[in-house]
């Protein structure tokens, strides 16, 4: 057992966990942040993507010890109060989700994609970048639309800040 200390969605947290505990299990089982999902056991599906120090990471592939001291953001931490993150709003407005299970990971990956390609996103790039996130419901058509829409919204939001 080890004690880990990290920041999750802006709050300092600590937990006493088995050394083999994965970050996704810390989030779901110990911190009750169940928006981060588990869809596979081979780090393929991306349902568990969170941000660690601003980068999209599959939290099923991270031991909690590796996240010690890190700044973690989950799907629960991206809206500002009642105001949705532009990516969340774009997924809703473009029907970018159906069952909702892959959605948190998709949104967290997509935010990172927009950050990494500021201003230079097109359909082919979005499709290529989403390779690590699997959706079985949407055929990706509206997810791609959502990400492209959000890229514009995020640029506007950034300009306003």
């Amino acid at each position: 057992m080890s004690t880990v200390k990290l920041t999750v969605n802006g709050k300092a947290v600590s937990a006493e966990v088995e050394d083999r505990t994965l970050l996704v299990h810390l989030l779901r089982d110990h911190l009750n942040l169940t928006g981060t999902h588990i869809g596979c056991d081979t780090s393929q599906c991306g349902a568990c993507v969170v941000h660690i120090d601003g980068r999209a990471v599959k939290s099923c592939t991270v031991l909690v010890g590796q996240a010690n001291g890190a700044n973690v953001t989950t799907i629960e931490g991206i809206a500002k109060g009642d105001e949705l993150h532009p990516m969340q709003a774009a997924f809703r407005d473009n029907h970018g989700l159906q069952c909702g299970y892959c959605t948190p990971g998709m949104i967290m990956s997509a935010i990172d994609i927009v950050h990494r390609h500021s201003g230079k996103l097109d359909e082919a790039t979005v499709r290529h970048e989403l390779e690590g996130n699997i959706c079985r419901c949407t055929g990706y058509h509206n997810i791609v639309k959502s990400v492209l829409d959000a890229a514009g919204r995020m640029k506007v939001a950034q300009a306003a800040e």
């Binding site: 869809g39 299970y101 699997i134 959706c135 079985r136 058509h141």
Partner: protein, 781 residues
């Protein structure tokens, strides 16, 4: 149409919780004192279980219990059931072996559970499972259809000699023989419909809680049909009495058919919660999903079609072998019979059809309904046949289809179905226009000049949805009726709850069903709450599958709504001192036509509940229920055309364009409908290009992870161009047909027809991987 009524693409009410991480799936739920189950599964495809030694495991930290199949037998827990009885052509009933939830004696597919460890934590259960010693005596396995039916094949169940479950036929054999005798041309085709793994993104999960003082169970489960689960768990599995069992299916992360069935793990969790007197949670991992979720498709077929000298179809003869896996799953028997052969007339006038289906046991995961269920297999066979015929007869594939289209409705096919309405020519025209078919030869020539092989492929599908008229399916062997129920509660303050037996696991019912109410009453959808997925709340329901929710569940809502409106009008007319016949409902108000007198819905509702001033003899309250049993199936249909390029050096396929023209009848929320089509197309394209469950000859599932089984990723798929050519369904008041499965039914033939057109070789099986396509190109050369 109101702004949120029928035809409005309003954004989904349910989305906010999903995009903010506030969805509530089964695995998100924790109960006080909850334990965790981990199943011990056979690594062998066929073996005797000689002994199970759990002594060491019982001493491991946190272990609460180890339970085996023997204890299930001791507790008289029932075997899993198959709910549709099929009779072979010799008049004998289908031949089934028993399927116990944990095998006490014999295991018949890799991954079948033999025992379960229950412990304080998930990791403790997994650790202890490593310490359970199971002694197996391996038996030879039959891993596919050919291996299972050859002489001397390993025998799976003593009840089914030669591993044949049934040998069934439908149609007029003599009429087909006559048709072929007078044919000018006969086209033949052999094909395989590849086995698929549904892979809803949320793995199956169950949490069971037993209250011994009340002798009452609660089961949270990933189900598409919680009432059916309760019925089966009580009436057949004998785990709990129906009135002492509450089944809750909260947010469910996709189903595609795979969450219809009541699997061993859910049943064992429920039973175990009483054995250990603690809540028990089981959540499958992806490997378990690959090994134990019911697979789909897996047919091997030979087909022949007879044409006259004018290229009119005279007859169709089909022989199909269907793989059921090691046990007969809940609806499995119906899939390659009444959900497959009944659609073999497609969109065409085919005077004579005869199809034989042999259902076969193999040492593989059980196979059951997966998105489309029988109809994709029918559509794939028929649409590849039409394309093959067009090439052999040297006619345009669109024109050959058009020449044979059914144009008069209603139309009785030779295989049970009576199509009520459709306009197949309109869908084909729309698709041809959308893809600029006239410009294709020039595009193909240009691609050729650039060293690329370009092809175009058609698929004109039809499906039977709105499952199903209870009497009709009952006469065909179904063990249940397939109606739906609804209850509408207008609360005293005028907000509305709709309790539906349909279950949403991605379909957007919370929005679409609210739009039905908004359309009728003119209230905003924010005033309407859709309640589903809980047997303690919803009176009863048959659940969601077979594209049935809007046609059957939606109609039940309309029927209940009519009763609510009738009573509310009586109250309004009483309060307004007007004649009931003069009351109209508009924008949430009851108005006396031709006057300025009106009363708002909340005031009518309040009057219904205060009951101070109701018409003489009227009961208080404003709540009505309805059960709706459809009179016929609905028949969504459409035309898909795929244009693609093949790289002859690598065999890789790249989409140029994929267009769809669908007839779903009236669209309630076009945005949601199109989302359903996108997802269906992705699964159909996935089957055509990427997906396939592969077993080795020992019955090991080689493709048991996302590393080995190719799920469609975003960059495997094109954006889709959708068109709608609706004809309103005359069989229900909404004129709707259903849209959930169409894409998966129609897409795969369009893709394979396009590739075979591009490469000039018709011998190509799914999934058409670059390796297979490359070989097909070179086989021809």
């Amino acid at each position: 149409m109101g702004v949120e009524g029928i035809g409005a693409s309003v954004v989904r009410k349910e989305d906010r919780r999903f995009i903010t991480g506030k969805g509530r799936y089964v695995d998100d739920i924790k109960l006080q004192g909850m334990t965790y189950a981990h199943f011990i599964r056979t690594p062998h495809a066929h073996a005797k279980v000689k002994s199970i030694d759990s002594a060491a495991a019982m001493k491991m930290p946190g272990v609460v219990g180890v339970l085996t199949g023997k204890e299930l037998v001791d507790d008289k827990i029932g075997n899993l059931i198959c709910g549709w009885a099929i009779t072979s052509k010799d008049g004998t009933p289908m031949k089934m072996g028993a399927w116990p939830a944990m095998a006490p004696e014999t295991v018949r597919f890799v991954g079948q559970a033999v025992a379960v460890v229950i412990a304080e934590t998930r990791n403790q259960a997994k650790d202890a499972a490593e310490a359970v010693v199971v002694d197996y005596e391996e038996l030879p396995a039959a891993a596919d259809i050919r291996a299972a039916i050859k002489p001397g094949a390993p025998q799976l169940h003593p009840e089914a000699p030669g591993n044949v479950v049934y040998d069934w036929a439908l149609g007029d054999e003599a009429a087909v023989k006559d048709a072929f005798a007078k044919a000018a041309n006969i086209v033949t085709l052999e094909l395989t419909n590849n086995r698929l793994v549904p892979n809803a993104m949320e793995p199956r999960s169950a949490i069971a809680e037993y209250n011994d003082a009340e002798e009452h169970f609660t089961l949270y489960t990933t189900s598409q049909n919680p009432h059916v689960a309760r019925l089966v768990l009580s009436a057949f599995y004998n785990v709990a009495q129906e009135h002492k069992l509450r089944v809750i299916a909260p947010d469910v992360g996709g189903g595609f058919g795979s969450k219809i069935y009541i699997y061993p793990e859910e049943m064992v969790a429920l039973w175990a919660s009483k054995k250990v007197r603690r809540p028990v949670k089981w959540t499958g991992d992806r490997t378990e999903a690959f090994l134990t979720d019911a697979h789909g498709r897996d047919h091997v077929s030979k087909a022949e079609m007879a044409f006259d000298k004018d290229n009119k179809i005279l007859g169709l003869r089909v022989k199909t072998h269907a793989n059921f896996g090691a046990y007969m799953s809940l609806f499995s028997s119906a899939v390659p019979t009444y959900l497959y052969v009944t659609l073999l007339s497609g969109q065409y006038v085919i005077p004579a059809i005869y199809a034989e289906v042999m259902g076969v046991y193999t040492n593989t995961t059980p196979v059951d309904a997966y998105r489309g269920a029988g109809r994709p297999e029918a559509s794939y066979l028929l649409e590849r046949m039409m394309e093959t015929a067009a090439r052999q007869l040297k006619v345009d594939p669109g024109e050959l289809r058009r020449k044979n289209f059914i144009t008069q409705f209603p139309y009785q096919t030779p295989v049970i179905m009576a199509y009520d309405i459709g306009d197949f020519g309109a869908s084909l025209d729309a698709a041809l226009k959308a893809i600029d078919y006239a410009g294709f030869p020039a595009r193909k020539a240009k691609a050729k000049s650039e060293g690329k092989l370009r092809g175009i492929g058609f698929s004109c599908y039809i499906e039977a949805c709105g499952i199903a008229p209870s009497k009709a399916v009952g006469s065909l062997g179904a063990g249940v009726g397939l109606w739906e129920s609804a209850e509408i509660r207008v609360n005293p303050v005028g907000t509305i709850e709709v309790l539906t037996g349909s279950h949403s696991h991605g379909q957007g019912h919370e929005t679409t069903f609210a739009q039905l109410i908004s359309e009728r009453l003119g209230v905003p959808i924010s005033q309407v709450q859709i309640v589903h997925g809980d047997t303690d709340k919803v009176q009863f329901g048959m659940g969601t599958y077979g594209s049935r929710s809007i046609a059957v569940g939606g109609t039940a809502i309309i029927k209940a709504m009519e009763k609510v409106e009738a009573k509310a009008k009586k109250i309004a007319s009483h309060l307004l001192e007007a004649s009931e016949g003069d009351i109209i409902i508009e924008n949430g108000e009851f108005k006396v036509t031709g006057t300025d007198k009106s009363i708002a819905l909340p005031m009518v509702a309040l009057a219904a509940y205060t009951a101070h001033n109701l018409p003489d003899g009227m009961e208080p309250g404003l709540k009505e229920t309805a059960f709706y049993d459809p009179t016929n199936f609905t028949f969504p249909a459409g035309a898909y055309i795929c244009e693609l390029e093949v790289d002859s050096a690598t065999g890789k396929t790249s989409f140029v364009n994929f267009v769809a023209a669908d007839d779903f009848g009236r669209l309630i929320n076009p945005m949601i409908v199109e989302g359903q089509v996108h997802g269906g197309l992705a699964q159909g394209i996935g089957q055509a290009l990427l997906e396939g469950a592969v077993y080795d000859s020992n019955g090991q599932l080689v493709t048991a992870s996302f590393m080995d089984y190719t799920m469609p990723r975003a960059d495997d798929l094109p954006s889709f161009k959708l068109n709608h050519t609706p004809t309103l369904c005359p069989g229900n008041p909404l004129g709707v047909k259903g849209c959930g499965e169409a894409g998966a039914i129609g897409a795969s033939a369009a893709v394979i027809n396009a590739i075979t057109d591009a490469i000039g070789n018709n011998k190509l099986e799914m999934p058409a991987t670059p390796d297979r396509v490359w070989r097909a190109i070179h086989a021809k050369a």
